[in-house]
Symmetry: C2
Subunit: 569 residues, 2 copies
């Protein structure tokens, strides 16, 4: 009997968890505690990534079974504070300029509270009423920002449930996947008795239309989600044709044109169908934008879907100053933009937009129990099924920050990028390796003496008309050493952990085709000041010079050997 | 000059938005306001969906351009209150028992605050430290819950970065897509010079392995995301083979076995490769569970990946009482579960688990700038790229609610389902049409007189050895009328808007193969009481009887006509 009574009591306790406390006191009490926890975390002096080692973390999170007994909320919050918050990455720190992540406005936390409390499911109108209309409204805003169609078009379609101007997705990868899925359907649409690739699969689609393969063409700087999408879509990774870039990290239009010609000429059965050509508007590695107008023209010539991956840069369309970079985007077939990047929203939300309001009808789904055929449910047009009311965040942010506010944010980001570049150049022991367009700076640590030597060698190499193999070897060997130095430097910076930039490898520098290890800064955090940038560079310079002492003997030996070798020849 | 100064001031203002206010006062002030807004919403008497019409909402959300000027947070919050919260669906209301959604524990809101404030990106360790370990830990918990592998296995793999026991996804559709993507890779893996389907695409994979098609086999009750996944994966919707169900909404094993035999026999070039067989553990429409053991056996026989879609029911594994339903799941290759369903988490989060810890290596990705090859980044194994720290919610919920708490929640849900069934049967003007296993009840409104008539007719029909066409016609016509009545009833219930159940169409009732329009209740909200269930039924009965007055003359005419017709024959 006692047990039954206990159970009943427990259930009453449990039920209370499901009721928003009648007076907000209890909630506010927890809220207070929480905010203090978060504050402590941000103000704590320690490093950006916390000094705990990965093996140590493995020891903390090693419970293999689900807990049996309920614990008090306050105990679990304490556990979260001590085990999780303490060892989280301070991605909002102004010293963290290594990835496409920044501090976010604190009102985002309020918006998350609203989203969770309302708990709408965007899949259908029965579980999302006003929120469905908010989603369509912000999609229209962004559609207009990108495609600038006539006011009449937006008046007609902003809340037209028969079409979708785009999708809100969980992230940029799903957004790109959606765009390429639509491109695939458009490449192999229904035709007479052929019901379209979505029904038959890739094999029969190629057979019906008489192509040897379907391909996607993009720059080598394209995001890895393109390869991923081609693999998921049954197109195959080998059918993603990556075209080299020029010295400004923009796709080489001549090479692209030549490749497209090769792919599409010859006998039909041997020809490839170009499913999509992708322009990158803000490459992940360097932030540069392809020549979209040229890509548009080529896409039209070969009848390919023209997709622009503007996951990084898209938000810059809010500001006149950047619009010239995107010329041609208004004629693209689809465009993707991430809200958690330059819209300064929290993790994560992607957006995909289609110029033609009927394009998403190619992938329309329905079922009996949800998203009925003639319903007004947004879920008919999305790859995902259940979806949260994420779009409230950029919707409210665009109101609270406004176009004008974003203009200031991007101005600050641009200033930070330029300031960082100036500080690096002033220091002398760094080499800047890209021409930043959208707030990404690529550089490496290279002691002055090596830089000067390399400058000389390069000049000599270029002035020779014939290829000088020895000189090439020498340059390569020096770069190999500097690569190792920068890998080591990046590791040491991680150990120091007071500042953070990321690291990658690039072939598109003046040393091409040799791959150069580079540091990558994305200084978009509005709280990052010039003083902070100076500090970041000074830490890198001082650790770099310390490491150089280890590397220098090898460098000198290398110079000597090379001289001897050249002497012998 | 003034303008420049203004701009600077504005930037200073803007910066303040990005700093967590130093004293939590300001934040708490907004928080207070917000909580009151949310409270008002939940306590407001009005209907579940708000009485505003869709055209009226279209008028509210019809701004086609992004706002230029910044607005105050408090003004935007007010706008959110008046335009959005007021017209949101009260999915947490105990009178809302129509979809797989419920009230959620209020601590979820606190967790969302933490997630947004930390703003970790799970894609890589540089943007997610402790949170990567939390994700691996909860995946191990759930893996053990489902697959019960040896403790040694979990000790070894819980934090082993070389493998992934599963993925946290944005929802169940992406979870199912991930499982079927892995199944596709396993069906057409690398083989000699053939680099695998992910590289070549579907067409060359079928050619290399010499199959005419690749198919996925599931029950007709399977979620529409299966068809969607087949289309996305380039397999094709026509290659999803849907097998009828028995009278308990479980896949008909005999028919499935026969179909599989047909697909796989004959000459190899004409044969289909069975990519996956899918068992449903909690169908979306009826909550019933397939015979997983039998499906497992057939999958083994034909060498197919065995996937279990337990998006709805999976959480019930927490409670011994339900385990018998899932027998065989521990041998499945992959299993999907939704956190926003029976784990009572907010929208949205899916989970996919793989019994073999190496299966996700089939879809491993890497790139230079993020998720490097030898990194420990979780993003190497996921379809999505950037991902939020969503898994904190079920991780904390499993601690705060505990297995014991979930046991009580499911006990309550089961009681509610049984109580609802009893109330409907007691009323007499309803017909229950499924045997609930996991908290979903299917029924329809049917006046007593019609029900009795149909009972008689059915008995007569079944006692005849030869098919009686006339009788069949008569039953069909009556059902057609009752279908129309239930569609109308559902619409009227939406207008009344004090209660909510959903509606669908089923062929698997005692009237099969004729499709019956049914009402669908999912009474999982712990705040739904017997009194509330009585109220829901009484509203349906009273509106139903009112409508019946309109329908009855047609019914009487139908009986008369039929009698005359039968008389003439």
């Amino acid at each position: 009997m006692k047990e039954i009574k206990d159970k009943k009591d427990n259930m009453e306790q449990l039920k209370k968890l499901f009721i928003m406390p009648n007076s907000p006191d209890k909630f506010v009490e927890f809220g207070h505690e929480l905010l203090e926890m978060i504050h402590d975390f941000f103000q704590e002096k320690g490093g950006i990534h916390s000094s705990i080692s990965l093996p140590e973390l493995s020891e903390i999170f090693n419970q293999t079974s689900i807990p049996e007994k309920p614990q008090l909320i306050k105990d679990v919050l304490k556990e979260i504070k001590e085990k999780i918050i303490k060892h989280s990455v301070k991605v909002g720190s102004p010293y963290y300029i290594g990835h496409m992540i920044s501090a976010i406005p604190y009102f985002m936390i309020l918006l998350e509270m609203i989203i969770a409390a309302l708990n709408q499911n965007q899949v259908k109108i029965e579980t999302a009423k006003a929120s469905s209309f908010v989603e369509r409204e912000i999609l229209a805003w962004l559609h207009k920002l990108v495609f600038k169609r006539k006011e009449r078009f937006y008046k007609k379609n902003i809340q037209n449930p028969k079409v979708a101007l785009g999708n809100i997705t969980s992230d940029g990868t799903i957004a790109n996947l959606t765009a390429l899925l639509v491109a695939r359907e458009k490449a192999f649409p229904p035709d007479g008795n052929f019901p379209g690739v979505r029904v038959t699969g890739m094999e029969k689609a190629l057979k019906h239309y008489g192509y040897s393969r379907g391909v996607i063409v993009a720059s080598i700087r394209g995001h890895y989600s393109i390869r991923k999408a081609a693999s998921i879509l049954g197109i195959g990774e080998e059918n993603v044709i990556l075209i080299p870039v020029d010295d400004h990290n923009k796709v080489d239009i001549k090479k692209l044109r030549r490749k497209v010609r090769l792919l599409t000429e010859g006998k039909r059965r041997k020809r490839a169908k170009i499913i999509a050509i992708i322009g990158i508007a803000g490459t992940t590695e360097t932030g540069n934008v392809d020549n979209l107008e040229e890509l548009l023209e080529i896409s039209k010539e070969v009848g390919a879907h023209f997709h622009v991956d503007a996951c990084w840069g898209g938000a810059a369309l809010l500001v006149d100053e950047y619009k010239h970079l995107f010329k041609g985007i208004e004629k693209a077939d689809s465009v993707t933009i991430d809200a958690h990047k330059l819209f300064y929203c929290p993790m994560t939300m992607g957006i995909v937009l289609f110029r033609n309001e009927k394009d998403l009808n190619y992938i329309k789904y329905s079922s009996q129990y949800v998203i009925r055929k003639n319903s007004v449910d947004i879920g008919r047009f999305t790859i995902e099924g259940s979806r949260p009311f994420s779009c409230l965040k950029p919707w409210a942010a665009l109101k609270i920050i406004g176009k004008n506010g974003y203009k200031l944010l991007f101005k600050h980001a641009k200033n930070s990028t330029e300031t960082l570049k100036a500080i690096l150049e002033e220091n002398g022991n760094f080499e800047v390796l890209n021409e930043p367009e959208l707030f990404i700076l690529i550089y490496r640590f290279i002691p002055k003496e090596v830089r000067e030597e390399l400058n000389l060698l390069l000049e000599k190499y270029k002035s020779n008309k014939r290829k000088n193999k020895e000189l090439e070897q020498k340059i390569k060997k020096i770069n190999c050493l500097i690569n190792a130095l920068n890998v080591k430097l990046h590791k040491e910076l991680r150990r120091d952990d007071t500042t953070f930039v990321s690291r990658t490898k690039l072939e598109s520098t003046r040393y091409r085709p040799y791959n150069i290890v580079v540091l990558r800064a994305v200084p978009i955090n509005p709280l990052t000041t010039e003083q902070i940038l100076r500090k970041i560079v000074s830490v890198q310079a001082s650790i770099g010079m310390k490491l150089w002492k280890e590397f220098r003997p090898a460098y000198l030996r290398l110079l000597e050997q090379e001289e001897r070798r050249v002497g012998l020849v």
